[in-house]
């Protein structure tokens, strides 16, 4: 059993992590980034918002991030190779419209290191966003300055946070971005304003970041969120980052899967103006009356869904494409939950031991990694115990 990680919005008034125990063999750069960004709903919902990434993302992640967040594809910028955290942060903070920065630290993925890993998101602009008061870059080679390397331990004395850098995830790749230093700032141990020092390839980047610029700031609309691995052992036995190109199992064509991302990742349904019924997943026509005109998109709730049926799929009863998951993590639970009047969803359970969820319980749906198919990872919403308790769906 992998160790739990804790994840949640960092910015509660007391400065603690609002912890939520999860196990993470089905988490990766993409799911962590989505979780971090979803913790900043106010900024993410701002008109004209743009999103930037730092870290080891797969090519094309911008399209998937946009789909997962319900943003137009152009809102998420393609990853910039070898971009430093400081440079990306300056760029994000310099936008006129609200913007989001999401950084991923994947050093522990694939068993490459012992440092914690996770994703962090910062929101800029609007009344609640963080503000970069000033920044400058001191030219020079960090390795010559004697400050490079992968100690993994941040210095956070006197409000100065050094962003630790680790070894490359892949041989010859860029150094990874360390987030534990910034996390120390965000969790409040060094106060709402922080000096960040980043050992960027172009030199020493120094920035003054104000994390709570507004008097109207509230925990409901935090400027930053962090998702961190509690222990790298959660990654033990993980498959390689790149999935096999040949998949053994039932086939959902890539184009079909991608066209359904809004339903798979955000519970997008269609509401029929003629009969009022909902159709999930979206199919372009009402499944009750057949009407195909004037259907409106509706996001089904993703929290507090009531469980109507459960089963634990034991070793050998899984579809063959789940063999690897069973090998690594053992048996798993699958349930049916009611998402809305007339709409049920089928979800695999994550984070808790199989059998932990029963009929009548409430669950939340979180985006997680599922299985490799046709040379890429497939993702889906999975069920975790509801944090909202008994909320009517």
């Amino acid at each position: 059993m992998p160790s739990p990680i804790r994840a949640g919005a960092w910015a509660s008034p007391a400065g603690e992590l609002e912890g939520h125990p999860v196990v993470g063999p089905d988490e990766d750069a993409f799911t962590l980034a989505v979780a971090a960004l979803e913790a900043l709903p106010t900024v993410a919902a701002s008109p004209g918002v743009s999103v930037r990434t730092v870290g080891e993302f797969e090519p094309g992640v911008e399209d998937d991030l946009a789909a997962a967040l319900g943003l137009p594809p152009s809102a998420v910028r393609p990853p910039v190779p070898r971009v430093s955290f400081g440079a990306a942060l300056s760029e994000a903070a310099g936008q006129e419209a609200p913007s989001l920065l999401v950084a991923i630290d994947e050093r522990a993925i694939g068993g490459a290191g012992s440092a914690p890993a996770g994703a962090l998101a910062l929101g800029f602009g609007g009344p609640d966003g963080a503000r970069l008061r000033s920044h400058r870059t001191v030219p020079g080679d960090p390795s010559v300055m004697g400050m490079g390397g992968g100690s993994g331990s941040p210095s956070s004395s006197s409000g100065v946070v050094r962003l630790d850098h680790g070894p490359a995830v892949e041989p010859g790749g860029p150094p990874s971005v360390g987030l534990s230093g910034l996390r120390a700032a965000l969790t409040g141990s060094v106060g709402p304003s922080v000096t960040l020092v980043d050992l960027a390839p172009e030199g020493l980047w120094i920035g003054e970041l104000d994390l709570r610029p507004s008097a109207s700031w509230s925990p409901a609309s935090p400027a930053g969120a962090i998702f961190r691995w509690e222990s790298p052992s959660a990654f033990a036995g993980r498959p390689a980052r790149r999935p096999p190109t040949v998949s053994e199992g039932a086939y959902v064509p890539r184009a079909t899967y991608r066209a359904e991302r809004a339903s798979r990742w955000r519970f997008a349904a269609e509401r029929c103006p003629r009969c009022g019924a909902r159709t999930f997943p979206k199919r372009g026509a009402c499944s009750t009356c057949g009407n195909a005109e004037g259907l409106t998109d509706e996001l089904l709730p993703r929290t507090g869904l009531a469980v109507e049926a459960t089963t634990v799929v034991h070793r050998g009863a899984q579809p063959s494409e789940f063999d690897r998951q069973v090998e690594v993590s053992g048996e798993y639970e699958v349930l049916l939950a009611r998402a809305a009047e007339g709409v049920r969803v089928t979800l695999q359970v994550a984070d808790v031991p199989p059998g932990a969820i029963s009929i009548g319980d409430r669950i939340d749906a979180r985006l997680r990694r599922l299985i490799p198919m046709e040379g890429e990872w497939r993702y889906a919403l999975k069920a975790v115990p509801s944090r909202d308790g008994a909320v009517p769906a």
């Binding site: 053994e248 039932a250 634990v312 034991h314 009863a317 579809p319 063959s320 049916l336 089928t346």
Partner: protein
């Protein structure tokens, strides 16, 4: 009722189990058996058309399998149509055969069900075992049919506060019945305690709640009612068939504990045959998992909602009980070669209604019902048979 009716004049059945024979040999054995069973004989040239029910498990001859049946049945030039409705393939092939005769298009029709499942490695078998479920959503959550029926069982037991011992009892009964069926895959008596102690597969379903993975084939010869007497003095009349469909995925169905496709199929079969449920002497129902037998009894109209469990525990469904269910051992113990099952059920009806079922004979059986389900309930067909 003035419509022409169809009758069974012969039926053949291979052994079910892990067999050395390949698909062609199984087809040949089943068809030869059916031809040999016709009391006064039948020339193959009399067969005007054939229907083949098969999934093509593990990828066997996914296209144009019909031609293989024409070859192995020695029916050169005869039109053959392959029917695929997952586990209900042969049930729907039978329905097509019945319709060909009822319509007057043909006088003699061959219907065959086939599946060869044990010649693929286990990974490939598990790949194929769920292919008739909803691939895009159910399977992507990690479910095969054991998991889907596990969900239905959990909902059923909770909704009706049903005694879970009823699941084990279905397994015990069907294993007991299979002891008297020389064609059955699992011929081993089990106890309720053994069933309840068997390993979990998809809880609450355990290993002994699941049908085995079987090879096998069954063949049926149908003739128009008025020509049937040329071939035998004791044809078995097909009084009516019914069929229905439902959403592919469980999440899209109105109920988790009722199969709408079965209900529609049963209602149609009874309506077309003009018979009533109380006149049925035995049922052959689709018990791919023990929970499916409970659901079938309710959906077919032989037990009120939630009461099938008590009916099973009362012993009424055993041979010699008031309503024998699956006297041949059912899918559970006789075995379930996916595409063969619907034809195998009709074979049992043929034997029972002619009094040829040996030590598993239901005494005085005059009317039988067969019930064949595709997937977890996306399709279903019901057929009513009567002794003449």
């Amino acid at each position: 009722m003035t419509r022409r009716r169809a009758a069974l004049i012969g039926a053949g059945h291979t052994k079910f189990g892990v067999l050395p024979d390949g698909p062609r040999a199984l087809l040949r054995q089943a068809v030869d058996g059916a031809v040999a069973s016709v009391d006064r004989g039948v020339e193959r040239s009399a067969i005007g058309e054939a229907f083949l029910g098969t999934l093509g498990f593990a990828g066997w001859q996914l296209g144009n399998a019909s031609a293989v049946l024409a070859e192995e049945a020695r029916l050169p030039g005869v039109p053959v149509t392959r029917v695929e409705n997952a586990c209900a393939s042969a049930g729907f092939a039978l329905r097509s055969g019945v319709q060909a005769i009822e319509s007057g298009a043909r006088d003699v029709v061959l219907v065959v069900g086939l599946e060869k499942m044990n010649d693929a490695p286990s990974t490939r078998r598990r790949y194929w075992l769920g292919v008739s479920g909803d691939t895009e959503w159910e399977r992507m959550a990690g479910l095969t049919f054991a998991g889907v029926y596990g969900l239905m069982a959990s909902a059923y037991l909770t909704e009706h506060h049903a005694d879970p011992d009823a699941l084990a009892e279905v397994a015990v009964k069907n294993h007991e019945n299979a002891l008297a069926n020389p064609n059955a895959h699992l011929r081993k008596r089990i106890t309720r305690e053994e069933a309840k102690a068997s390993p979990l597969v998809a809880d609450p379903l355990r290993l002994f709640d699941c049908c085995p993975v079987s090879d096998g084939a069954a063949a049926l010869l149908l003739a128009g009612e008025e020509v049937a007497k040329r071939f035998t003095d004791t044809p078995v009349l097909i009084e009516g068939t019914g069929a229905g469909s439902d959403a592919l995925a469980l999440q899209d169905r109105a109920s988790l504990t009722k199969l709408a496709a079965t209900r529609r199929a049963a209602d149609e079969a009874f309506r077309r045959s003009g018979t009533e449920r109380r006149s049925v002497d035995l049922l052959e129902v689709h018990d791919c998992f023990t929970i499916a037998e409970l659901l079938a009894l309710e959906d077919l109209g032989f037990a009120p909602a939630g009461e099938a469990a008590a009916l099973e525990l009362s012993g009424a469904t055993r041979i010699g009980g008031a309503l024998p269910v699956n006297p041949d051992g059912g899918l559970k113990a006789k075995g379930h070669p996916i595409g063969a099952t619907g034809a195998s059920q009709a074979y049992e009806a043929f034997r029972q209604l002619r009094g040829e079922a040996g030590s598993r004979q239901v005494k005085g059986a005059r009317r039988a019902l067969t019930h064949n389900v595709g997937g977890s309930g996306a399709s279903a067909t019901v057929t009513l048979f009567a002794a003449v």
